[in-house]
């Protein structure tokens, strides 16, 4: 099959179809806009001997780390969220970190899979952004075709074993009259970061310059718009990397795992 399948053609595809395309090497792009209505997930893979601490970390920090599924050690199939899927091959791109250093970006994990690897699938902001748009709340970075701006805060996560570090937030500028809708629409989805952690006070989070995010791109903040901050799925990756595990694998930014869950399943 040709590689020029259009994003539009997959907007309403079933996740099984998109995962099959990815597995055959026919989709190696970001997954934003694919499979409308279905939950996409962040991926963190760690060896079993670090998995307990990481699992406790997700339990203690559910806003940045909304855990959708944790697989059995060595299993490549997320049996709850995408039966039949292969976590080694069904994401378009992965990052391999060793001892906290990015070693490679790859399109499958077949060659480096180990029997002690545990996969964590974590909810992602695509779910609540869809809900915002449906509620009539504009999402600036989508309008501007950018990555969402993300900031490292001065708010510590609750530590668990070897895992500790600051909360990372994403920011979306919202007109004051739409802030209630933005909050209500996103709070319905606790498994996708839920409602915002803060409204309108970047300094108290230790964010000095909204124009210089730590990850992603800056976006336009119009006069009277208020910056609203949500817990971000980059947090668990940043925290896990800081612990410098011998091996950690994640999705590449934007190249998410498309599950069979519907967004409404998370309500």
């Amino acid at each position: 099959m040709p590689d020029e399948i259009s994003r539009g053609a997959l907007a309403h595809a079933h996740p099984k179809k998109v995962r099959a395309l990815i597995r055959r090497g026919n989709w190696r792009h970001p997954t934003a806009g694919l499979c409308h209505g279905y939950v996409q997930a962040n991926l963190v893979i760690l060896p079993r001997n670090l998995a307990y601490d990481f699992l406790v970390f997700t339990q203690r920090n559910p806003k940045p780390c909304p855990l959708l599924e944790v697989t059995e050690p060595g299993s490549t199939e997320p049996v709850q969220t995408a039966p039949g899927a292969d976590i080694r091959r069904d994401l378009p791109q992965y990052r391999i970190y060793r001892h906290g250093q990015l070693e490679a970006e790859v399109t499958d994990l077949v060659g480096i899979w180990q029997d002690d690897l545990v996969s964590f699938l974590l909810g992602c902001s695509f779910t609540f952004e869809a809900a915002m748009l449906q509620a009539g709340v504009p999402v600036r970075h989508i309008e501007e075709g950018k990555n969402v701006p993300m900031y490292i805060t001065n708010v510590p996560c609750r530590a668990a074993g070897i895992f500790h570090g600051p909360l990372v937030v994403s920011m979306r500028p919202i007109p004051p009259a739409l802030i209630p809708q933005a909050i209500q629409a996103t709070a319905r989805f606790p498994s996708a970061h839920g409602g915002p952690v803060q409204v309108g006070d970047p300094l108290s989070l230790g964010i000095r310059d909204l124009a210089r995010p730590d990850f992603g791109d800056p976006v336009t903040i119009r006069a009277a718009e208020v910056p609203v901050f949500w817990a971000c799925g980059v947090t668990p990756q940043a925290v896990a990397m800081q612990a410098k595990p011998p091996l950690m694998i994640t999705h590449s930014p934007g190249h998410m795992f498309v599950t069979d869950l519907r967004n409404e399943d998370l309500v």
Copy 2:
């Protein structure tokens, strides 16, 4: 202090006060009706080498196992839900199981504490029953001064490592016109079992005789009332016991851990 402190006198006490009374040996009774508005919790203590599997089990079965906190191995303080508390001394009564057999019922764990023990605190139905009463929904076993009737179902939990077993449910008979209120009031509290798992069809859960619960007491079901079933905190205990861990400690039935969380914190 005398032992005849009345339940009524503690109905509106702060949890710190009640835990202090328990620690001094001045309250050795069930905790129902104490500290109105505060979350009470089920307790399961397991050795660290079983804690990972059990933690995954709670993640995969959040309705019967709504995890409020998991402590660091060896730590006796639930730092998130009750800072300053001592899990070894602040419950009125504990059960000690070895290899799946009840060995003893004790009033503190000081003598048998081990450095590898991990405490799991799980949400409890007291929270949602308070919400039902506030919503004007009668709770029969409270009216009748009984324990809630509980039934082992034919619905398997999702297994995790060595832990597997059937879902246990509690049952409350509800008049048809109040079923919507009962569902809405309890669904607000996913960390306390949330909304019911089923309405009105005991047979499809494998329950043949509502008058003969597997745990607790039978309650009166009046004409036209419908049996409504909620996931029950006995599930994790039953499942953990089935795995026959060398050591498992739980609260004694009804003798819960009173946390500093307010019920509304769980919404």
